[in-house]
Symmetry: C2
Subunit: 339 residues, 2 copies
Amino acid sequence: MNANKLNRAVAKLTGILLTLGMLSTTAAAQRDPLPSWNEGSAKRSIIEFVNRVTQPGSPDFVAPERRIATFDNDGTLWSEQPVYFQLFFAIDRVKALAPKNPAWNTQQPFKAVLENDMQALAASGEKGLLELIMATHAGMTTTEFEQTVKDWLAVARHPHFKRPYTDLVFQPMIEVLDYLRANGFKTFIVSGGGIEFMRPWTERVYGIPPEQVVGSSIKTKFEMRNGHPVLVRLPEINFIDDKAGKPVGINQHIGRRPIAAFGNSDGDLQMLQWTAAGKGKGEPYLLIVHHTDAEREWAYDRKSKIGHLDKALDEALNHGWNVVDMKQDWKVIYPFQLK
Amino acid sequence: MNANKLNRAVAKLTGILLTLGMLSTTAAAQRDPLPSWNEGSAKRSIIEFVNRVTQPGSPDFVAPERRIATFDNDGTLWSEQPVYFQLFFAIDRVKALAPKNPAWNTQQPFKAVLENDMQALAASGEKGLLELIMATHAGMTTTEFEQTVKDWLAVARHPHFKRPYTDLVFQPMIEVLDYLRANGFKTFIVSGGGIEFMRPWTERVYGIPPEQVVGSSIKTKFEMRNGHPVLVRLPEINFIDDKAGKPVGINQHIGRRPIAAFGNSDGDLQMLQWTAAGKGKGEPYLLIVHHTDAEREWAYDRKSKIGHLDKALDEALNHGWNVVDMKQDWKVIYPFQLK
């Protein structure tokens, strides 16, 4: 044996280690974990937090099993304008189901949807919206609904961007998800949106598996149909995972308090408060995505119906929570804008 | 450089790999993963299943993210006689809270509990049991309840074994949990028991973190108390995770179908049916723990009130599901019996 052989052996084993990701820590430390973020306090705060809770020996070190991070979805991980994307799904489903429901031609809120009369739809209020949801989200098995969501996502296009809705996710936030997971975090969605509307695509798009999605839901019922078990979706609210419901949903699904929470509206306020009140080592991490970019996305906050951000912004300013200024802090908004 | 140096370098890198667990596959294959199981069809079936779904290239290979295994708790992971251990908790809580509730001295089912009159308690039926649960499980914050459970477990002793209840977990099943996790599975509890009664100890005892516990629950409410957010436990049923509720709970919490399910009673029948009906690669794995050991544990099935096993046993026999004969298949029952 000679030096060449030794070198080859070491190189081979180093190659194995690299392939297996065992040497990636060093590589990761040298690489920018958040390349789509401009340098600034928001980016710095995330990196400082991760370093603080993951460095063994640090007074703020948090054991991996307690590294729970929760993310709102609409407006935090993907866009939510001009309306929540799930409403576009409901609208498209009403149109698809209309031939089998002739009464809808004269019956609100369905008539409004079929006539593309958004003003009349808005006038039907919360009651109208609920009717729309129940007519389009209930009455089928969970397996059938999952397929309907997948089929819709494959063909539906956002009215402004003319792209699949799942293209309109925030590249900088995807980097945060990846970065946290690379540092031992479990990432969860905690959204007011429908849990079964999100699960068919969150693993592919965000790397978040179905069991780490918390959301609003309708009731389901177990039934045997011709000897085959099914879960039927019922037209009855089970849980609303919004506002004061978010800490309830977190407790119900996760069973421990997050040490980091990310939101963008008053619907996330209680989740942020619940996370902020966590005792244990170190300060929890709180971040609000502030939509300030009218050119590349949308600009809205205190007066917006969708993504209303008022009290939560005040609390953020009062308590020194981190606020992302989308226009200033993000190099790109969507993955398709990456060069 | 010479052969010695080469050998030392290779040995050092091999040492690193071993330390990091990268070479453990070989070691694990040589070690018996289920040492507390006697050789037989039950033990063989588990090992064959794991090999079948984890070997790359096998026609039954299942991607790691789909390796979901669900376990009932009472009677499947720990004992459940003479009554569910959570009832002992409720009884002890009634006794602890009695001085502050003088009316209980004359009021059923509390009077029965305070007089240790198990016959009168049984006579109070489901309604009485529910009253007992609400009086002892509601009215405090989630944090307070968690502490109460931990404090109780530290001092409470099983009436027969005179040991902490968490000593009465099944060593052979703990080996199954470890074995599945070592092969990329996520292990979940899906129990009729209270979700918040289990979470304080399942990670320590079973290696199952709170977010992988599904169970029955009461409602909770988010409140600000002196500027501090709390979740208050309300005396109102939220969800019963038993029988036809188990597939509902699995869908709600996990959002995908298990490929393996473990139970011991008719309360687990629908979970087993739901798992058995899974399409995809390979046959799902179903197992029923049959309590046949009157000497070391308890022997009961078709006529037992607790752990009633009748229809599920018929289904197991009809469909060729795996059945553990505790007396025959298990070398030891509890960890404290290990030599």
